[in-house]
């Protein structure tokens, strides 16, 4: 199953190292592929280095695309991190 969602980042500190690391580890713990897009750039959501390269701050909008057998669970878990529910 492929899911795609535009999400406004409301994690008040933005995606600096710690939330980006949690995001990447959460993505890796699921079987689905995860792509994060911002400003026309797509990165692998399982790579902290790639996530950090997007410079995601609070208030930014990203598109999350999740594709795989556990896409719903993955999308829900990853969205939680972006909106600040760590």
């Amino acid at each position: 199953m492929k899911l795609r969602k535009k999400i406004k980042v409301t994690n008040e500190h933005g995606l600096h190292i710690r939330p980006a690391s949690i995001f990447a580890e959460t993505a890796k713990s699921h079987r689905s592929t995860v792509v994060v897009s911002k400003g026309g750039e797509d990165v692998d959501g399982r790579s902290i280095m790639e996530i950090l390269s997007l410079g995601i701050n609070s208030g930014h909008e990203v598109v999350l695309e999740v594709d795989g057998p556990d896409a719903e669970r993955a999308m829900s878990a990853l969205e939680s991190i972006l909106v600040g529910n760590l």
Partner: protein, 157 residues
Amino acid sequence: MRLREILSDEVIVESLRASDKRGVLKEIVELLKAKKRLADLSADKVLNALIEREKFGSTGIGKGIAVPHAKLDGIREIVGAFGKSPRGIEFNALDGEPVHIIFLVLSPPDRKDEYIKILQRISTAARKTNFCRFLRNAKSIQEIVDIFQEMDEIVQV
């Protein structure tokens, strides 16, 4: 924020002497103190803040790079420093590899946006170019500075 805005020649250590995480952070903080970059803060206070941040999770982001960071009252502007460890430091990095390249960043509590910009610039450079390899092979402060300048020109964030 460009790397050269916060990394002048005098806050670059081409070859760190310490062999452990606390030691290299101490070495870099003491350099910043000596170069009067810490305002009225003591080196110990800054070092403790960095160590406390590391307890939340390593700032070793992979590819041999660490970006230790602390937000501190008393710091008036973004303060940066750079250190290179030829032997590699066990930093509990996210990819399990030793750290050779350390970008240390101190910021006032209300300037978190700049830290994310700096992370963005460093990680973009690390992803897209031979940034890491060039830095590790650099033999002098001037070579390191040249690499920063080139990255600032190439990497658009």
